[in-house]
């Protein structure tokens, strides 16, 4: 027994199996083929949730993805999913669901007091009320959220897995109703690659509840026949439970396929992902997305028992459920009559068909009358009566001829179900996402697609064609045409004959009139999920809102998880009338992806975890650093040793030890991460001349030179040492983080501006392993390691580079220094990097060779006043600001040169690099600290500069800092103040940026 309201025959459910499930803690049962909503309706459940703002009781109003009321939290713990529509949740054994609104319980909801104070909660209430005092917002918000909130997040990390699929197709058909099926068939017969996607569990769309004949068969049989044929085409993919959620540029669409939701946690093959996000590039798209029926707007139109007419038909025909004992219909078009026939078919007493139109299609009227159903033409339902279970009756009223006011009241008719149809709104969501602008069609009273912007076409009711024969025909034509346009001509298809009647005219009705007798105070809802009423939109218009986008944000119209699928068009119409505009003038709000909510899991796919697609780069010597207990620092994508703590040393102790050892004995640094670009070609030197600020024409093979690279705006972009290996052959080094960008920069100039230069670039960063041996004993260590080169100062001076061997390994040895010490960089094939490192470490043992990390490297270079691009510069610093005019050639052009004489870059009082000495020698300023001329002056205090680098220098015995200070170069010896975050002010004297060995004696020593 699956419920008192279940019909004994018919429907697309499997009565031979029962499924038990829980809803709000109570056990129910249903059948395969049921949704949560249909199974609950079959058991007589009418109350599905509470509304968001007023906490009014709400029932299910729709039968598909448009449902705004019946939102449920499905599953428990980590498997729990919030805000699913009960109308889309398929039953599985053991399913548990609860309403997302209703606190502490659905039947007794504390928040429903809001309903009685509804007059005090107008549009913008929260904006207006909880803004002052501003500091109290946090407190208000806590309670507002608790009172409002929809679903809850799962209690743990998602235990399921998700994946993505990238594919191309010739024709993507969205929707598998009559138009979609014909389109797919028309396209498939041509041989084209076709994807047919539909959000429902079963393909067929509206045909699954249609009581018409197509081609001499029942609609469901005809659907089965079409699907059978489609299955025979190897190039056709049929996707059910698959929502085409987003339509992006160049016919790129995303499809969210729910693969195991219907089986429940732990019930599906663990190899199958829970959801799959299809990323499809389609040559042609056919939008057969159907239309969404509109509710009528009258007092109490949110009462449980008021349902869309098409939903009533769906529950009766597809799910074999009579949603009540006694029903009525309220309509302004022909669709409502079918619901009356279907309710009668389900054995319900149909007490009235109330039609706003005075002269509808006689065929529809007589079909209803033939079943003994009273039909009231030119009438309306201005309000309803209700009891604790929901709807108990409807008020009937005779309308004036124009339908805009009530002529006379005709009493109450008892019923529990009211099937309403206010017409149909084509689902133009995807069309609009594609960039198209929907236009309002007055005759059909709906927005329809306008011109196509991308390679797409709409067919069927998504185009405003509401009769079945028209849908089949348009679908067929669209399928054949799309196939031909994608390169598959010559397909043909016959349109089957159908028994469905043509569609008679609608009489637009955006708000059912009320008068004093009918109760003017009762709420007429537009947006059920957000409780936006007619009065709210009218108030917004009175308060001066004109743009629908602003009204949306002010009244929350269309802001729910349903994105206003039911309510938006009615809301637009109310606004249009308030502003005395047409609907076309008012326009729609922007339709954005996704059509229905897509889980984060599907968006992420398998891209989970901390590393994602940003690769981690490790040097050849990495494993040694790990063994040595190094702490690592991320520099770009690289892992670099930061410092090597010994015996529980603190970071500062380790860094001080490494700095002292390097200056007093010998240190060693893994420098492999520096970017390396091999530059070859007859014009290589000319290219370097244009790229760097200094002159490269006279650099001889075997010599190295430091270079500074500017953007065309004159700002420092990168720096590094470049070595001339042979005539027309150079090896450039870049900063670790800037390597890829510098490579791109150079390629761009060569390709787009100077294609005449014969220069070839190769990134060789990963090919070479580089270690830098620095300190007074560097030369001895290299000797000890077995270097076959004469390292004597006379033959191997500073900035000299030679090929040789070290410990038998072919190596390039260069005498360059970033520490200011006597230093040699040894580059070897990366495969031999670790071997060389270990050889050198062994050889250096007797000199107490000390590996040092990036932190010690930073301290050592700061002692020398060497800048780090990106730390001491920020894209607004010129070489002159850094005091490096010595490297700027006056005799040649280079990128950025002209900018150095622009009025702004040439002005005095720019921020310039200086050193800082704190008066307390032990105090280390925080990097980024703002510098001011005088503390305690009236706010705002003018900012004069900021600290860019700051360390404790163990070699000097005091702190050092580099800073950019306005006019700093002319303020040597002056005092400046660092304004700290905690309010402290630290005085410091401005000094030269070179703190140590200003004459460079150490790195040049023979």
């Amino acid at each position: 027994m699956s419920g008192a309201r279940r019909l004994t025959t018919g429907g697309l459910i499997d009565r031979s199996h029962s499924i038990s499930f829980h809803f709000n803690g109570k056990r129910y049962s249903g059948h395969p083929g049921d949704t949560l909503a249909s199974a609950l309706l079959a058991q007589g459940v009418r109350l599905f949730g509470r509304s968001f703002k007023y906490h009014r009781p709400r029932g299910v109003i729709g039968a598909g993805s448009e449902e705004p009321n019946a939102l449920v939290q499905v599953g428990e713990g980590a498997h729990s999913t919030p805000n699913l529509r009960a109308t889309q949740v398929e039953l599985y054994q053991g399913l548990t669901a609860r309403t997302v609104n209703g606190w502490p319980s659905l039947a007794y909801d504390l928040g429903s007091v809001n309903n009685w104070f509804g007059r005090l909660l107008p549009a913008g209430f929260y904006y207006k009320t909880f803004m002052w005092p501003r500091s109290a917002w946090m407190r208000y918000e806590h309670y507002i959220r608790k009172a409002a909130g929809l679903g809850h997040a799962p209690s743990g990390p998602d235990p399921d897995h998700y994946d993505k699929r990238h594919c191309h197709c010739d024709v993507l058909v969205v929707g598998s109703g009559p138009a979609g099926l014909m389109a797919a068939l028309g396209a498939a017969r041509s041989g084209a690659r076709v994807i047919l996607a539909d959000e429902q569990a079963r393909l067929g769309g509206s045909l699954l509840h249609a009581s018409v004949q197509i081609g001499g068969k029942t609609a469901v049989d005809w659907v089965g026949e079409v699907l059978t044929e489609l299955h025979t085409y190897p190039e056709v993919t049929l996707l059910k439970r698959s929502t085409v959620a987003g339509y992006y540029d160049h016919n790129f669409l995303t499809i969210n396929e729910r693969r195991t939701h219907h089986q429940g946690p732990g019930q599906s093959d663990p190899r199958i992902s829970r959801e799959r996000l299809w990323r499809v590039r389609a040559r042609q798209v056919i939008l057969a997305t159907g239309a969404i029926e509109r509710p009528l707007v009258f007092s109490g139109n949110d009462t449980p028992g008021v349902m869309l007419a098409s939903a009533v038909s769906t529950y009766v025909r597809r799910y074999a459920v009579a949603p009540g004992q006694c029903g009525a219909v309220f309509t302004n078009n022909d669709s409502g009559y079918q619901a009356a026939l279907d309710m009668a078919f389900a054995g319900m007493e149909v007490v009235a068909v109330v039609d706003i139109r005075a002269n509808p299609d006689p065929a529809s009227v007589s079909a209803a009358k033939a079943l003994g159903i009273p039909v009231y033409l030119g009438h309306g339902v201005p309000s309803v009566e209700k009891n604790r279970q929901g709807l108990s009756g409807i008020e009937l009223a005779r309308l004036t001829d124009d339908g805009k006011s009530i002529q006379s009241h005709k009493g109450v008719h008892r019923c529990q179900v009211l099937a309403v149809s206010g017409g149909w709104s084509p689902a133009v969501h995807l069309y609009s996402q594609s960039g198209g602008r929907a236009r309002f069609d007055e005759k059909r009273a709906c927005f329809v697609p306008g011109e196509s912007v991308q390679a797409e076409r709409s067919a069927g009711s998504s185009k405003g064609t509401f009769d079945l024969a028209g849908c089949l025909r348009e679908g067929a034509n669209a399928g054949v045409a799309a196939a031909a346009a994608s390169g598959w001509p010559g397909s043909s298809i016959d349109v089957p004959v159908t028994s469905a009647p043509p569609c008679a005219a609608i009489q637009a009705c955006w708000e059912v009139p009320t008068d004093a007798l009918g109760g003017t105070g009762a709420k007429k809802f537009l947006d059920f999920q957000n409780d936006t009423t007619v009065a709210d939109v009218q108030l917004a218009a009175r308060e001066g809102y004109r743009s629908i986008e602003h009204v949306k944000r002010y009244t929350a119209l269309g802001f729910g998880t349903d994105q206003g699928k039911l309510g938006n068009i009615n809301g637009l119409a109310v606004l249009a009338r308030s502003l005395d505009q047409t609907l076309g003038d008012t326009g729609t709000t922007t339709f954005r992806p996704n059509y229905t909510p897509v889980s984060f899991g599907a968006v992420a796919g398998r891209s989970l975890g901390a590393q994602l697609f940003d690769p981690v780069r490790k040097t050849a010597i990495h494993s040694w650093h790990v063994r040595r207990g190094a702490e690592f620092e991320d520099v770009g994508q690289w892992k670099r040793p930061w410092f090597y703590p010994q015996n529980g040393e603190s970071m500062s102790d380790a860094v001080n030890r490494e700095c002292l050892a390097t200056r007093q004995g010998v240190g060693v640094l893994d420098a492999s991460t520096l970017g390396k670009i091999d530059i070859q070609g007859p014009d290589a030197a000319e290219f370097l001349n244009r790229l760097y600020t200094n002159n490269w024409s006279k650099l001889e093979p075997g010599r190295c030179r430091y270079g500074l690279m500017l953007g065309e705006d004159g700002m420092v972009m990168d720096d590094g040492v470049t070595t001339c290996l042979a005539p027309g052959h150079y090896l450039m080094t870049t900063t670790t983080g800037g390597a890829a960008a510098v490579m791109s920069w150079m390629e761009r100039w060569l390709q787009t501006e100077w294609p005449d230069l014969k220069v070839y670039l190769t990134s060789v960063t990963d090919h070479w392993s580089v270690m830098s041996i620095a300190g007074p004993h560097a030369r001895q260590v290299l000797h000890e390691a077995g270097c076959n080169l004469d390292l004597g100062g006379a033959v191997f001076p500073f900035m000299c580079s030679k090929a040789g061997t070290v410990a038998g390994i072919p190596a390039r040895v260069s005498r360059i220094s970033f520490s200011g010490e006597l230093a040699f960089e040894i580059s070897v094939d990366a495969n031999l990097g670790l071997a060389l490192w270990e050889e050198v470490m062994g050889a250096g043992q007797k000199f107490n060779i000390t590996p040092y990390g990036t932190e010690a490297m930073h301290v050592l270079r700061a002692e020398k006043g060497y800048v780090i691009v990106g730390q001491d510069t920020d894209g607004s610093v010129t070489p002159l600001d850094l005091g490096m005019s010595w490297i700027v050639s006056k005799s040649k052009d280079f990128i950025g040169r002209r900018s150095l004489s622009r009025s702004d870059t040439a002005k005095e009082n720019r921020k310039q690099l200086v050193g800082l000495h704190t008066q307390d020698p032990m105090q280390v300023l925080p990097e980024g600290a703002q510098l001011v001329n005088a503390p305690g002056v009236e706010k705002p205090v003018p900012m004069i500069g900021h600290v860019t680098s700051s360390y404790f220098s163990a070699n000097l015995g005091h702190s050092i800092a580099l800073a950019l200070v306005k006019g700093g170069a002319s303020r040597m010896g002056g005092t400046i103040y660092a304004q700290l975050m905690d309010g402290h002010v630290v005085p410091a004297s401005i000094v030269d940026a070179v703190f140590f060995d200003p004459d460079n004696e150490r790195q040049r020593r023979n």
């Binding site: 705006d713 100039w749 294609p755």
Partner: protein
């Protein structure tokens, strides 16, 4: 060459619009936008004698761009592919790609 003072950072997407263009690299064929870098307006000629320009003229080269509504000639680089730069005429309203041609060529229909 676009020499905007952003330095080498040229990928700047308008917020709120997910761009998934399909671009036909003249060397590799059609690929998703993920593989490309945007380089801004094309056919900006670098002055041959920057020193002869006034500050205003140099700033015009450096900073000012047409901000075209409609067909816009712009540079793209197939960075995750062949790493070649080329030119694209793209409608900045519809994002439709109207023409693709090699660096150094003029837009189709325009004389050199």
């Amino acid at each position: 060459m676009n020499t905007a003072p952003l330095g080498w950072r040229t990928e700047r997407d308008a917020p709120g619009r997910v761009k998934v263009l399909e671009i036909e690299c003249p060397w590799c064929g059609a690929r998703d936008q993920d593989e490309f870098q945007y380089g801004g307006e094309a056919h900006i000629v670098r002055p041959t004698s920057p020193e002869d320009l006034s500050d205003a003229q140099w700033a015009d080269y450096l900073f000012n761009r047409a901000n075209t509504k409609g067909p816009h000639a712009e540079q793209w680089c197939h960075g995750a592919g062949c790493r070649r730069w080329f030119n694209v005429v793209r409608d900045t309203v519809s994002y439709a790609i109207l023409a693709i041609y090699r660096t150094g060529d003029r837009p189709p229909g325009q004389n050199p």
